[in-house]
């Protein structure tokens, strides 16, 4: 069964950090990401994953009564945004839960598991 693992987090604290501090934090988490990638590709060699750019580059498009409305995104009220996604083919939900818990940002954000419709 195919699952999307949506990585939710609050990027507001992150974007304001100076570049060198960002780099340091990334370096700190990097071994965990590497072992995650190993686990994911062991479970599904065809796994794919993407990191999404921050909220400052996001735009939201709505069409209402035929009119196109484009605003800055994602949604002003929400602090947590989707920062990345993995698409992975797994035997069952328990395995999806196990792998989601290995994503380093699960420690401060949250991972949403969404089965893909067949």
């Amino acid at each position: 069964m195919k699952y999307a693992l949506l990585i939710h987090g609050d990027d507001s604290a992150w974007v304001d950090l100076p570049d060198e501090e960002k780099a340091a934090l990334r370096a700190e988490e990097m071994p965990q990401w590497i072992s995650l990638f190993e686990e994911l590709s062991k479970a599904d060699p065809g796994v794919s994953g993407y990191e999404l750019d921050g909220r400052s580059t996001a735009r939201v498009v709505q069409v209402r009564d035929g009119e196109r409305i484009v605003t800055d995104g994602p949604f002003a009220e929400t602090k947590e945004i989707v920062g990345g996604v993995f698409l992975v083919d797994l035997p069952d939900l328990d395995e999806a839960i196990r792998l989601a818990a290995l994503i380093p940002t699960a420690k401060h954000g949250s991972i949403e598991i969404r089965p893909l419709q067949e």
Binding site: D92, L93, Q117
Partner: protein
């Protein structure tokens, strides 16, 4: 054996085996349902088969083949039919298939399902209760319950909830929801939350039956045994809890000759076995408390057991019970002070009933009356209302 008796014995067993093979709970249930319908036609005419369980599994297998040929698209057909090849066509070979009911229990109680769906599914798939029976037990309409069951089964397939007993490292997080489902069913029967019957014996019996099944399937799991002991010990007082006019009778006023000695003995034996495994848990402690009540131990001992329970389960309801035990052991003021410190139970009728009772014991009648009135506002159960009204008259 009649078809009805076979149904109670064999339903969960057959659904579990077919689900294991087909990996589709909905299709498995339909096929087993068909098999029992066939049994209703044939057994009265041809006689009960030698091994009713094996007959049901074999017939369900054949009915599943019919259904797959009729209903499924070509792509699915070949795969599902191939899976059914795993099942022997001959009844005599079916008895060798291992019991899969434990996997069925864990699937029905998977945390990814809503709590109310877990209860309904477990009663339906493992217990074999009809949708109408479950709807009646939980006071919802039959179409609502049918919808709930269908959605839960779709969710199992849609989310990829596995059909298996979780590996050991997952058991600590996966066993508690299973035990909670059984205990909720039991409590719904034991203290019907609304309506005119205070005890719905059929639900208590069903919870105990499932508890025994779990204890057989997990003989080394102390909390599964602890839960069974707890249910047996509480249930032993079922007849004494309600008097001939349907009024609720509190423990201290109960006619002990109405207690079921057989159940008490069984409960104590199961508890002893649980404790001998030497891994303490909340159900074992609650069973120990129930045993202490049955054996008429002093309240100070019961209060000590609650001290230990509060360490593992500091929920407000447990704290309330501990406060009451402390009060009844003679430290009424201390107990009342603990009741008044509790947070988050303002809408819980038993908090106000307990507070009223302690105030009554201290002869603070006016305050007791206020608490009895608050408890009355909050309870929906008729026999509890009558009990509280009686107490209110006493202090007014």
């Amino acid at each position: 054996m009649t078809v009805e008796e076979a149904f109670r014995e064999e339903w969960g067993h057959a659904v579990a085996i077919l689900t294991r093979v087909l990996r589709d709970l909905e299709l498995a249930e339909d096929a087993v349902q068909d098999a029992f319908a066939t049994a209703l036609e044939r057994w009265p005419r041809d006689g009960t088969p030698r091994n009713p369980g094996a007959w049901i599994v074999t017939t369900a297998r054949n009915r599943a083949i019919d259904r797959i040929r009729r209903e499924r698209v070509f792509r699915e057909k070949a795969e599902l039919l191939a899976r059914l090849e795993e099942l022997p066509a001959d009844e005599d070979d079916v008895t060798a298939i291992p019991d899969e009911r434990l996997a069925l229990v864990f699937t029905c109680c998977h945390p990814a399902l809503a709590a109310e769906s877990r209860i309904a599914l477990t009663l339906r798939e493992v217990g074999g209760l009809s949708t109408a029976e479950i709807a009646h037990a939980f006071l919802v309409s039959e179409p609502t319950m049918a919808q709930r069951l269908v959605r839960a089964k779709r969710r199992i397939r849609g989310a990829g909830i596995p059909f298996r007993v979780p590996p050991d490292h997952l058991l600590p997080e996966r066993l508690p929801p299973v035990l909670a489902v059984l205990y909720l069913v039991f409590n719904e029967g034991y203290a019907a939350s609304s309506g005119s019957e205070h005890v719905r014996a059929d639900l208590c019996d069903e919870a105990i039956r499932l508890g025994k099944l779990l204890a057989v399937l997990m003989p080394d799991e102390p909390e599964a045994l602890g839960l069974l002991a707890l249910m047996l010990l509480q249930d032993s007082r079922r007849l004494a809890r309600i008097d001939s006019s349907g009024e609720l009778v509190l423990l201290e006023d109960q006619d002990r000759s109405l207690w079921d000695e057989g159940r008490i003995g069984e409960g104590l034996r199961v508890l002893e076995r649980a404790v001998s495994l030497r891994r303490r848990g909340p159900y074992q402690l609650q069973a120990a408390i129930a045993a202490a009540h049955v054996e008429d131990r002093p309240w100070s001992e019961i209060a000590t057991l609650y001290d230990r329970l509060v360490e593992i389960d500091p929920s407000p309801v447990v704290q309330l019970n501990r406060a009451v035990a402390i009060a009844l052991s003679g430290r009424v003021d201390e107990g009342l002070a603990l009741v008044d410190e509790l947070d988050g139970l303002g809408e819980y009728h038993l908090l106000h009933a307990a507070r009223a009772d302690l105030l009554r014991r201290l002869d603070r009648r006016a305050e007791a009356a206020i608490s009895y009135r608050r408890a009355l506002e909050l309870t929906a159960n008729d026999s509890e209302r009558r009990y509280l009204e009686g107490r209110l008259r006493e202090v007014s």
